[in-house]
Structure formats: structure tokens, C-alpha cells
């Protein structure tokens, strides 16, 4: 079959070239249209429910809402994990489905179950399924700045002018508005006046509601025509509202007579500050599976057109644009790819000594890349740091097949000028076709374990493996089709000697190999010593999940006293912002968000703040690197005591939250039932964690400390005065918060009409004594102080309740500095076992990066041996000897040895990318071994002495072995030395492969011949 393929390629060259050009163009088009993102979509199929229950405490919500919804959801098939976070007045329930579950199916299932349970929830519950976004969907953030517009006006513009326009963009799931004041028309009733005319609160609500409505009446036929008849009552202006008649019993009394009607704002549950001043911001949330780069581009264009229509002096200030990160990371990879291609072409030219041959081999790169992009598009794989990284990793291996084909073709055409060129090329290609196919299959098998990874590591590294597989398959097919055709067109048929440099190299190699044969035992002992040393070094290697991608921006998360007010919380944020801006000139701007967002995707409490720092370009920094910059920021934040704080980055924060519900490298979850016990255990564990070396930013989420002023209506009084808890709640809510009674519609702007306390004209209770004295307007119009009709007490309770698979838990989080995560967790486990006595029914689990690292290790430890077995089977079928197959496999430990040494001395940890490096190394090492041993086997029939045969064979294979190794090494060198964002993720991989190739090449060139000789001698004996 392979022969026919090669034959077809050489006889139908024109067709093949046209097809290739077509693939090249299609590939280029695919590249331009491929969805581009910084990261692959790492989110599982996840459905989030956000339910808001105004006025309910976390415990009440948990008991009445969360539990009911969780119980209903538990029956949905394919679910993996069910998490919930319940805070004051809100609960977020997140359901992760197993890999591959269709998101629309999952949402439908959840929607059906939710519809079943919603009627049984308290009446005040509102909300539902969150927009179809992922935790990484927050891709573009901006604030609206103006010295002249008030915060209310800014919020109005964001809410009613900008948001609808941005939501019309394909791929935008929603636009989350934060900060500023949401405008309302506020009715502040005077209870005394209402009492005087005998109007109750509920009466007033009914009057406003019924007045602000248009009614449909029907049609009236007038002559031959029909008129639509309608009743009009909606308020057209705030004056209409003021003039609404509320009573006619003692003269006409209007709303303005019994209440103050003014413009106000909804109670705020969060605020945004920028560089020390309050502002309003918008977060553009992308739909799941949207093309992030394209969506951002459209958002940019739309905002540019909107900005022209903004009031004078107002401007849009973008402080987070994912496209910048995408461009930087993809740019880093593209740069590495470009350099890799150049270096590989240079290596090919030097080793082949023939520019035409080098060009022929190099042609495999653009065509393979184009085919890979085409396949990526077909299989919905986005272009990102990981998938493009896979292509860079593959560069060195991509040329291997064509190197073998072209090298053989060159050798054939240079040695034999009598036969037709096409025939020689056909023979040359046919000779190497089988080894080329088996070599490529080995590489594909080697990378197959990556496809078995699950969880985050699977999402991250599957694109790497798939891209490599696509590239290798493309390379294989092209090597046996396009390359032979190009060889026939580009190579010259003339007698030619090997390049002098190659001849010199071979002579030196021969001399060294002979010397090695004499001192084979000493060399073997030395190799074993280094191998043992590397094993020791391996024990000292730090283990972590993966290096964190430098996203450029920094987020500091603050946690303050649980009962802090929004105003105090904001003031503290401003203090810290001002200090940071004054002392760290590297910060371009700071945007801090405290409290909850509007949608509830991230329901932070008033004591929680995310301080987002946009940094200047690194060239403008005074600090050497980001680590020292972070250290400086840390020392400033630490000089503000009484706060918990931690460092993270925008994507890192959301990924961590998605995986574990929190944002640190290591999380220790304590599962149990009693909130107080959970809080105490978390506090004890926090102290233990702080004592473990390497712990940094150790925090325990504050779950206790909630204080609730509970007002309980006296039952006998309630019956006597005709007031129930719900009436009382509505009344009190109007005093302390606001009660929406209707909506004022003005074009596209909808302004809530609320009953609320107006600033400056009525008092707001500011102490428990005030609450006691609050005048309550009874249904009969009588006024009584609150304490006469209700018991008022302060109760303590949790401020948040987190649950996982229906079990409550508290969590302690820590980042890890100057050591690896795995050893940190091992020490931590030991310390916790020693110092913490867990009560019955309580258990601890470790999560975060550690969990992903452990899962990845377990998966790889299970799958890599299976791959090795498959490779052994292929080797056995190639050589027909298990011993020779094992001989080839002997190359592996020596290759790994180099990787370990390189990793150790570079200071990198053993991470998943490093493990991928070892896997790649395994493939190259086996491939080199196959190249060498196969040649020894081919010369088996020669009658010469064994040693001469081996040395001759090794000399013949020197060029392909060195080329394979060097193309791989130089192909990865740009990644190893790259410094741009994104490079840190692939760097360990490059270091392992480069280090491993040093030792592996040495083993292939010097130890394999010795092993082979020993094996052959043994066989002969």
C-alpha cells in the first residue's frame, strides 16, 4: 500500500502539487479563522444556578432553598460534582457534569428540575440559571470615567446605553454592571401623614401599582373604521407620580402630600473604585465556546463607536482586555515557532550539506502546519498557548520522517547516476517507508497517554497531544507523498561526496567509538553512576502541577471584618490603592471591586475585595522582575493589618474558583456539619499551615461572625392589629432598604419605583435603640413603635455556608512559595495528622493544584506503562526479537536521566509540562534507538567482524541520529529561552527534552553499540 502511495505521488506530481497548494491555502485560511484564545476551554460542562432571597440569612437559605434545590438536582444523570455557596440573600449552586456532556442538554435538565422545585421555595426567591458562560468568560472589563457625570449617570449610561449594544454582539452572553448607583424613583412615605388619613402601607403600594398601568380595552367600530381603545395611566414623568391622588376623603390628597417623591438609588451591595475614586464598571462575559479574540475585537469596535456618542469629557477606560494576553501568549509561541523553523532549516542545511535537500525537507514544515490547522478547525480545537505549544514541540519531530526520506533519496541519487531519478527516488522512499511509518506510530503512541488525562490537566494537555498527533500524521502523509514529489523536482542527480564537516565528524566519532569499545566497562560504569545520581536528583525534584502563566495583571484579594459596612470597606480599599499607586510606579491603574456583582456570578460579601492592578509594560519597570514587584506589593498590603489577603491573576483566580471554589494553590477542606466546629477546625488548621515551610497567603474563609437583627412579631399582637410578618417585613424593608412597587418606563430605560427612605428627609435606624423606636404604620392607620409589636434580638450565625456534594465544609487556603506543592502538602498532611484531632463525622481533603497534580500523576503512571508495552510490541514486530526491543528501550532511562538533570539544575519543578517533556523524550529516544539498531540489523548479513559492522553502521547512522536530536533540541530551544507570557508553561517541557536529548544521543551513539555488541556476542555464544 505504501509503495502504491509513493508510486502515485511520483507519477501524479502535478495533481499532488496542486492538492498540496490547495491544502496550504486552506490551512492558511483555517489559521486565520481559528478561534484564538490564551487557554483552551478548560471548564467542564457546568451549569450555575443563582437564586436571590432578599432578607434571608445563610442558614435560612441553606435550609429552605439550597437543600431543596440540591436534592432536586441530585437525580440528574452524568453529574460529577455539586457545589453551593450560600451567603446573605443569595445562593450560587454549581453543577459540574462529566466530560463530554452536551451543555444544552445539561442546562435543559437543570432548568426542568429547577422548574419543579421553584414553586416550593419561598415567594421572595428570584433568579434562575446563570448565563451560559464559563469561569473564563470575563474577557473584557472597562469603566466609564468622567469628572462631570455622577455615579448614577455613569451607571445609567452603562446599563441602558452601552449594555444593550454590547449584548447584541454575537458571542456575548451578558454584560455585568458593577459600581455606581442604580437610579430609582423613590417614594418616602410620611407614616404620620399616612396615619392621619388612615392609609396603610399596603394601600399605598396598591394605589401606585394600579395607577401606573395602561389597560387594553378592545376595539370600537366607528362607521367603516375600527379604533383600538385603550386606557392610559402610566406615569410619564416624576411629576405624574407626585400628583397621583391617594385619597379624596378629606379633600384631594396627592402622593406628594403624604410622601416625599424624589430620585434615589437602589441599596448597594457592592462598589467599584479606580485609583482611589468611586466609579462604575462593566464586565463583558463571553458565551461558552465563543471565539474570544473575535468577540473582543467586535466589542472594541462597538465601544469605539459608542465612545463618540458619550457626553463630553466622558470616556471608556479599558483595564482588562483578554486579547492583549492572547496576543502576547500566541505571539510568544509564534515567535518560538518561527525561530524553531529557522534553526531547524539551518541544522538541515548544515547536516545534509545540500541546500536543495534542506529546502525539500523544510517544505514539510509549512505544509504540515497548514494540514494541522485544517484538522484543528475540523475538530474544533482553538489556537491557544497549549495547542500551538504542541506544534512547537512537534517541529523537531515533524522533519524526522522527511529527513529520513530525503537523506535516503540524496544518498541514492548521489551514489547512482545511471538509473532514472524517479526510479531512484521511488526506491529510496520505498526502502524507508516502513521505518518511517513505525517511527511515527511510535511517536503517536508515546503521546497517547496525554489523551487519557482528565480534569484540568486533561483539558490543558489534550490539545497539546492532539496537535502533535495531527502534525505527525500530516508529516507522515506528506513525507510519503509531497516530499518524494519535491525530491524528484528539486534534488539533482549527480555524484557527490558527503560534506567535509560530516566526514570529519564521522572520523572523530569512529575514533571515539573504537576507544569506547576498548573501555566499554568504564564507560558503562560512568553512565550507571550518572543514572544513579539522576535518580537521587529525582528524589529532590520539586513536584507541582504546572507553572503558572504570567497573565501580566495582578489581583490582590482582600478579606476584612465580616460585619464591615460598604462605606468602611471602600474606604479601606482606597487607602490601600493610594498607597500602592504612590509607592509602585509600575502600576498603570488599580480598579477594585468590593461586594457582589449585579448578576450574582461572583457573590462576594461586603468584606471581600478584588484589587485589580494593570501593570505598565515591563520595559518601564524599576523592579527586576514580576516576583520582586509582587514582593513589594505584598509588603505594602501587609502594612495594612486586620485584613486577610492573597495574590492571584484574572484567569488563575477563575480557574481555581472553578476547580475548587477558591483561589489558592492548596486548599484544605474540612467537611462536617456544625458550622462552629468547622470554623474552629479551620482556624486550627490555619495555624498548622502557617508553620509549614513555604506557606504563603494562608487564609481561612470567614464563615462565622454573621450578626442578624431578628424581629419577631408577637403572635397575639399580630392577630389583634391585623399585621403579619410579611407586611411587617415589607414595611421595614422600605425603611432600611427599598421595596419595588412599580416600574417607570421611559423608552428603553426602565427605572424602578420604590418605597424607600429618602436621604435627608427621614431618618434611618442606626442603632438597635433606633430600631426599637421605629414607628410602624398599622393597617388601620395607627402608629406604634416597633418594640411594642415585636421582639427584637440579635442572633449570631454563619455569614456563608459552602457545600460540596451536599456536605458542608470550611476551607483553609495557602499559596506555596520557594518550594514545590507536593512536598508542601506531604509535610502539611503529616503536621495535620499530628496536631489536629478530628471529631467523629469530620474529615479533611486536600485540593487545589495538588489535587490536579496527583490525579495527573496517577493517570500517567497508569497509562505510560501501557504505551511502553505497545511500543515494545511494535519494536518486537520490527526486530523479531524481544531482547532487541528491550535493547532499544534501554535508551529510555538514559534519556530520562538527562531530563532530570536538566530540570534539577534549571530550578524547575517536575510538573505536568515536564512530564509531557519526558513523554516526548521517550519517543525521540526510542526512535533514535530504532534508527541505530535497525541499521545494525540491516547490515547483519555482512560477513565482516561484529565490531567493524557495528562501527560502520553507527557511522552511517550518525547523521540521521544527530539530525533527529538536533532538530528536536533546536526546535525547542526558542521555547526554553523564551521570556514572553506563556513561555513559562512550556519551558519545563523544553528543558526536559533538550536535557534528555543530550544523554539520549550519547547513549544512542555510544552505549547502544556496546549493548548491541554484547547482545550479539551473547547470541553467538
Amino acid at each position: 500500500m505504501l509503495e502504491r502511495l509513493i508510486n502515485f505521488s511520483l507519477t501524479q506530481r502535478t495533481f499532488l502539487l496542486i492538492m498540496s497548494v490547495f491544502i496550504l491555502i486552506a490551512g492558511a485560511y483555517s489559521w486565520m479563522t481559528l478561534p484564538i484564545d490564551a487557554f483552551p476551554d478548560i471548564s467542564p460542562t457546568q451549569v450555575k444556578i443563582i437564586l436571590k432571597a432578599p432578607g434571608m440569612t445563610p442558614e435560612e437559605i441553606e435550609a429552605q432553598i439550597t437543600l431543596a434545590v440540591e436534592t432536586e438536582l441530585l437525580g440528574i444523570p452524568n453529574q460529577e460534582i455539586l457545589r453551593s455557596m450560600t451567603k446573605y440573600a443569595i445562593t450560587d449552586i454549581t453543577l459540574d457534569f462529566t466530560e463530554g456532556t452536551d451543555i444544552y442538554w445539561a442546562r435543559q435538565q437543570v432548568a426542568e428540575r429547577l422548574a419543579n422545585v421553584l414553586p416550593s421555595l419561598p415567594d421572595s426567591v428570584e433568579g434562575g440559571i446563570a448565563p451560559m458562560s464559563t469561569p473564563l468568560s470575563e474577557m473584557f472589563m472597562f469603566s466609564l470615567e468622567s469628572d462631570e457625570l455622577s455615579l448614577t449617570e455613569r451607571r445609567q449610561i452603562l446599563e441602558w446605553e452601552i449594555r444593550p449594544l454590547l449584548r447584541s454582539i454575537d458571542g456575548v452572553a451578558d454584560v455585568n454592571i458593577l459600581g455606581g448607583f442604580a437610579k430609582t424613583f423613590q417614594i418616602s412615605p410620611n407614616p404620620v401623614a399616612l396615619s392621619a388619613i388612615g392609609l396603610s402601607f399596603s394601600d399605598l403600594i396598591v394605589k401606585v401599582k394600579s395607577s401606573n398601568a395602561n389597560g387594553t380595552i378592545g376595539r370600537a367600530d366607528i362607521g367603516n373604521d375600527t379604533l383600538i381603545v385603550r386606557a392610559e395611566g402610566r406615569f410619564n414623568s416624576i411629576d405624574d407620580l407626585k400628583e397621583m391622588v391617594v385619597s379624596n376623603e378629606v379633600g384631594t390628597l396627592r402622593l406628594r402630600d403624604v410622601a416625599k417623591v424624589s430620585e434615589g438609588h437602589l441599596t448597594r451591595y457592592g462598589a467599584v473604585t479606580r485609583n482611589g475614586n468611586e466609579t462604575a464598571q462593566a464586565i463583558v462575559i463571553a458565551l461558552k465556546n465563543a471565539n474570544t479574540a473575535n468577540v473582543i475585537e467586535q466589542v472594541r469596535q462597538k465601544l469605539a463607536s459608542i465612545e463618540k456618542t458619550l457626553p463630553e469629557h466622558a470616556h471608556i477606560n479599558v483595564f482588562y482586555d483578554r486579547k492583549v494576553l492572547i496576543d502576547k501568549t500566541v505571539g510568544t509561541i509564534k515567535e518560538a515557532l518561527f525561530l524553531a523553523v529557522i534553526l531547524v532549516i539551518i541544522i538541515l542545511t548544515v547536516f545534509l550539506g545540500d541546500l536543495r535537500a534542506a529546502i525539500t525537507v523544510s517544505m514539510i514544515l509549512p505544509f504540515s502546519a497548514a494540514s494541522t490547522f485544517l484538522l484543528m478547525e475540523q475538530f474544533d480545537i482553538t489556537a491557544n498557548l497549549m495547542s500551538l505549544g504542541g506544534l512547537v514541540i512537534a517541529i523537531g519531530m515533524l522533519v524526522d520522517a522527511s529527513v529520513v526520506v530525503v537523506e535516503n533519496a540524496v544518498t541514492m541519487t548521489q551514489r547512482n547516476t545511471s538509473l532514472p531519478k524517479l526510479h531512484l527516488i521511488y526506491r529510496a522512499c520505498k526502502d524507508v517507508a516502513v521505518p518511517v511509518v513505525s517511527g511515527t506510530v511510535i511517536v503517536i503512541i508515546v503521546f497517547s497517554p496525554l489523551l487519557t488525562l482528565s480534569g484540568l490537566e486533561g483539558k490543558l494537555f489534550a490539545p497539546v497531544a492532539i496537535t502533535i498527533v495531527f502534525a505527525m500524521i500530516s508529516s507522515l502523509i506528506l513525507s510519503l507523498t509531497l516530499i518524494p514529489a519535491l525530491c524528484s523536482l528539486l534534488l539533482k542527480q549527480e555524484m557527490k561526496n558527503e560534506p567535509s564537516s560530516m566526514r570529519w565528524l564521522k572520523a572523530k566519532y569512529e575514533k571515539m567509538l573504537m576507544h569506547v569499545f576498548v573501555h566499554s566497562k568504564s564507560l558503562m560504569a560512568l553512565a550507571l553512576c550518572i543514572l544513579t545520581l539522576s535518580l537521587l536528583l529525582f528524589a529532590f525534584l520539586g513536584k507541582t502541577f504546572m507553572p503558572s502563566l504570567d497573565e501580566g495583571d495582578i489581583i490582590v484579594q482582600l478579606e476584612k471584618s465580616p460585619s464591615i459596612s460598604l462605606e468602611s470597606s471602600t474606604k479601606l480599599d482606597i487607602q490601600i490603592q493610594e498607597a500602592l499607586l504612590a509607592k509602585i510606579p509600575e502600576i498603570r491603574q488599580i480598579v477594585a471591586r468590593v461586594g457582589s456583582d449585579e448578576i450574582g456570578l461572583d457573590p462576594m460579601s461586603l468584606n471581600e475585595t478584588d484589587i485589580f492592578m494593570e501593570l505598565k509594560e515591563e520595559s518601564e519597570w524599576e523592579y527586576e522582575n514580576k516576583a520582586s514587584l509582587i514582593a513589594a506589593i505584598r509588603s505594602i498590603v501587609a502594612s495594612y493589618p486586620g485584613l486577610n489577603f492573597g495574590f492571584t491573576q484574572p484567569i488563575q483566580m477563575r480557574v481555581s474558583e472553578m476547580l475548587t471554589g477558591n483561589t489558592s494553590a492548596v486548599s484544605i477542606k474540612v467537611f462536617g456539619n456544625d458550622i462552629q466546629v468547622l470554623a474552629e477546625l479551620a482556624s486550627k488548621i490555619k495555624r498548622v499551615v502557617e508553620d509549614v515551610k513555604g506557606s504563603q497567603d494562608v487564609n481561612t474563609s470567614i464563615i462565622e461572625g454573621g450578626r442578624f437583627l431578628t424581629i419577631r412579631l408577637h403572635p397575639e399582637m399580630a392577630s389583634q392589629i391585623g399585621m403579619n410578618t410579611s407586611d411587617l417585613s415589607a414595611y421595614l424593608r422600605a425603611y432600611l432598604d427599598s421595596v419595588q412597587v412599580s416600574t417607570f418606563i421611559e423608552g428603553k430605560v426602565k427605572t424602578p419605583i420604590v418605597l424607600s427612605r429618602a436621604k435627608n428627609i427621614s431618618w434611618k435606624p442606626a442603632s438597635i435603640n433606633d430600631v426599637n423606636q421605629m414607628p410602624i404604620l398599622l393597617p388601620d392607620g395607627q402608629l406604634l413603635p416597633l418594640h411594642t409589636i415585636a421582639d427584637i434580638s440579635i442572633k449570631q450565625g454563619p455569614i456563608q455556608i459552602e457545600r460540596e456534594n451536599s456536605n458542608r465544609f470550611s476551607v483553609v487556603t495557602s499559596n506555596v512559595a520557594e518550594r514545590d506543592v507536593v512536598s508542601f502538602v506531604e509535610d502539611l498532611q503529616e503536621a495535620i495528622d499530628k496536631e489536629i484531632d478530628l471529631p467523629l463525622g469530620y474529615l479533611i481533603s486536600f485540593g487545589g493544584e495538588y489535587e490536579s497534580q496527583q490525579r495527573a500523576t496517577e493517570n500517567l503512571l497508569m497509562v505510560v506503562p501501557i504505551s511502553l508495552l505497545l511500543i515494545t510490541i511494535i519494536l518486537f514486530s520490527t526486530f523479531g526479537s524481544l531482547l532487541k526491543a528491550v535493547l532499544v528501550l534501554c535508551n529510555i532511562p538514559f534519556a530520562v536521566m538527562g531530563g532530570v538533570i536538566a530540570l534539577f539544575f534549571s530550578g524547575e519543578f517536575l510538573s505536568v509540562p515536564a512530564s509531557v517533556g519526558f513523554i516526548a523524550l521517550l519517543g525521540i529516544a526510542v526512535l533514535n534507538g530504532v534508527v541505530m539498531i535497525a541499521h545494525f540489523e540491516q547490515s547483519h548479513m555482512h560477513t565482516r567482524q561484529l565490531r567493524d559492522r557495528i562501527i560502520d553502521g553507527a557511522k552511517q547512522r550518525l547523521r540521521p541520529v544527530l539530525m533527529t536530536a538536533l532538530t528536536a533540541m533546536f526546535g525547542l530551544a526558542p521555547l526554553a529561552f523564551a521570556t514572553g507570557p506563556g513561555a513559562e508553561v512550556q519551558k519545563p517541557l523544553a528543558i526536559v527534552v533538550i536535557g534528555g536529548l543530550f544523554t539520549s544521543t550519547f547513549t544512542t551513539l555510544f552505549l547502544l553499540p556496546i549493548f548491541y555488541s554484547w547482545l550479539e556476542q551473547k547470541n553467538a555464544d
Partner: protein, 341 residues
């Protein structure tokens, strides 16, 4: 957290106890870069409580009622209700046949009275001389007394009638005293019905309901710029309230009879006024952080009332002229809770 406990113990060992329920201290140096703005506490002699519902009305038992002695077909008021009048000011004209009859009755009663008086005086002289039978004298005395009473009954009403109006079918009624005229228009006024009420100036006061279970009674009520001392506190039959009555409304206080008012009770008590942002909560108690040379000491306070910016607090310790922390208070609260340790 341990260092604070240590400092706490030190203070308790070496500083005499002040009777505080709880003391917590934080070293100023431990606040590092936290902004520390302080406010000098000022003592106040009074404070304003939460607004009460007040009403301008007359103190019970002090108003004067003008009652119609007859059925009146038409009562035309010359002065609007609620207006202050002086004694003798004509305020209403009453008309109708019964008025005419009543005038006649008055004139008859007057005539009978005058004649019986004359008879009485004549017969008195005869009786003294023993010339008149005792039975006849007794009848004369009885007749005279009856006619006098009858006449005086009419006379009381006619004292407040414009004399020039007595000969017609109508009568002009005059105000019997100085005060606020208060009447309600009626379709028909029967004998014995109230024609008007006149509230003497010093009877018009502000009353407000005040919850019975309040520990302290206000000393004055304030509305707008008007502050009036409390005169008395009636414990009515209400289950929840007593009624506060102020002194009479001074001239500069513009308020109309029956007007509903939001009044603020004024309490006379030596207290402290502190900014709202100085107060924080620890375990259900409220504290302020009082500055000393090296420490901030948390002093428990009781929040009595609040304005938009300040609390009125009571405390067992004299906070007068002490500096209290008004910025970064929540961060200090966090320190005391062990956050960020």
C-alpha cells in the same frame, strides 16, 4: 492575637479598674500604615431622640364652649375656624324664627323679672312693717326668684350678643373670651348643640404619644426651630403610650390647631456625641477606640440616638476631650478578631 491578650492583662494589672464591661487595646505601632484620623469627643447636655408623632391641640379642660340655647335655622360665621379672636369680637350671626321667639322670650323674661322685682321690693317694705301676710310674701319671693333665674339664663347668652342686633330676627354673637375659635359647620343646630369652642391661648399646646416603656422622659419637644418645654405627662388609658403636653405655644411657633407634626423629643442628659464611623461591634457590644499615648483602647458605649453623621452615646467612662479613632476602624476590628494574623 496573643500580644493583645498580654497587653490587656498588663493594663488590668497596673491600671485601676474603671468599671468597664470590657477592654481591648491595640498598640498604635501595630496599625502600621493604616490611616489614623481621630476626633475629639465632646460632651453634650442634651440629645435629640427619634421623631414622635405630635399634634397641636388644647389641653383638656381649658376650652370655652358656646352652646346654642335654641334651634337655629341659619348660623353664619363671620370668622373662620382656627382664627384667634379677642373677647367681644362678633363671630357669628344666627337667624330664624326661633331666634325671634327667643328674643321675645328674653324680653318677656326681662319684663317679668323687672315687674316681679318691683313687686318684691314693694312688698318687702310692707312685709318688714308687718303689713303683709307671710304666705303672700312667700309667693312674691318665689315669683321673684324664678323670674330672676329665668332672666339671668337668657341674660348670660345675651351678654355675648351684639346689643344692636337684639331687635331683629337675627343675633350677632360675640366671643366670650380671648382665644382660638373652633367650630364645625352644621346643617341644623338644635338647642344644646355647640356653636363654637374657644380655646384660650395658653391651652393650645403640642401633645405627643410617648412609649410607656421608655426609661427617660423628654424635657422638651422640638419642631422646626421651635423648642417647647414639656409641661406634663399624662398616663392615658393607652396600652403603649403616655401623652406628653408641652407648655403653651409661644408666639414665634407657627402651628395650627389640629396640625400633625413630626416632633423631636429633647432629652437632657450628660452624654457624648461621636461620629458614626468611630463605632464598631464586637460580640454584640459597641465600642469606640480611645487614643492614649501608645494604644487605642476599645471602650464600650451604648448608642442612644443617631443623626445622619453622629451617635449620641452613653458610657461608664468620661470620654470628654478624648481622641477617638474615626478611620480604619474596621481594620482595627479585624486585628482584634485575629484577621490577617
Amino acid at each position: 492575637m496573643n500580644k493583645y491578650i498580654f497587653i490587656y492583662l498588663l493594663i488590668h494589672m497596673f491600671i485601676p479598674k474603671t468599671g468597664l464591661a470590657q477592654e481591648l487595646v491595640v498598640k498604635i505601632s501595630d496599625l502600621k500604615n493604616l490611616e489614623q484620623t481621630t476626633h475629639k469627643v465632646k460632651g453634650i447636655s442634651f440629645y435629640e431622640g427619634r421623631p414622635l408623632s405630635g399634634r397641636v391641640s388644647e389641653m383638656p379642660g381649658q376650652s370655652y364652649s358656646v352652646v346654642s340655647p335654641i334651634e337655629i335655622h341659619q348660623a353664619q360665621y363671620l370668622i373662620n375656624s382656627g382664627i384667634q379672636v379677642e373677647k367681644g369680637t362678633p363671630f357669628a350671626v344666627i337667624k330664624g324664627p326661633e331666634v325671634h321667639h327667643y328674643i321675645e322670650q328674653f324680653q318677656q323674661a326681662k319684663l317679668i323679672y323687672e315687674q316681679s322685682k318691683s313687686l318684691y321690693e314693694n312688698q318687702q317694705a310692707l312685709f318688714k312693717k308687718g303689713l303683709l301676710n307671710q304666705d303672700i310674701w312667700l309667693q312674691t319671693v318665689q315669683l321673684y326668684s324664678k323670674s330672676k333665674l329665668d332672666y339671668e339664663e337668657y341674660q348670660h347668652f345675651f351678654d355675648n350678643i351684639e346689643p344692636s342686633s337684639i331687635n331683629a330676627d337675627s343675633l350677632i354673637i360675640l366671643a366670650p373670651i380671648d382665644g382660638y375659635l373652633l367650630y364645625q359647620h352644621q346643617e341644623r343646630t338644635m338647642a344644646g348643640d355647640l356653636l363654637t369652642k374657644i380655646i384660650p391661648h395658653d391651652a393650645l399646646r403640642i401633645s405627643a404619644s410617648f412609649a410607656l416603656n421608655n426609661r427617660v422622659t423628654p424635657t422638651a419637644l422640638r419642631f422646626e426651630t421651635c423648642e417647647i418645654a414639656i409641661a406634663t405627662n399624662f398616663n392615658t388609658d393607652s396600652r403603649f403610650f403616655s401623652t406628653l403636653w408641652t407648655e403653651p405655644l409661644p408666639d414665634h411657633c407657627v402651628a395650627h390647631y389640629g396640625q400633625q407634626l413630626n416632633v423631636q423629643p429633647i432629652y437632657n442628659q450628660p452624654l457624648f456625641s461621636i461620629p458614626k464611623n468611630a463605632v464598631f461591634d464586637m460580640d454584640g457590644q459597641y465600642y469606640v477606640l480611645v487614643k492614649s499615648e501608645e494604644f487605642y483602647e476599645a471602650v464600650e458605649v451604648e448608642l442612644l440616638s443617631s443623626s445622619s453623621t453622629h451617635y449620641t452615646v452613653s458610657t461608664t467612662r468620661n470620654l470628654g476631650d478624648f481622641e477617638i479613632l474615626t478611620s480604619s476602624v474596621s481594620a482595627v476590628q479585624g486585628i482584634m478578631m485575629g484577621i490577617g494574623d
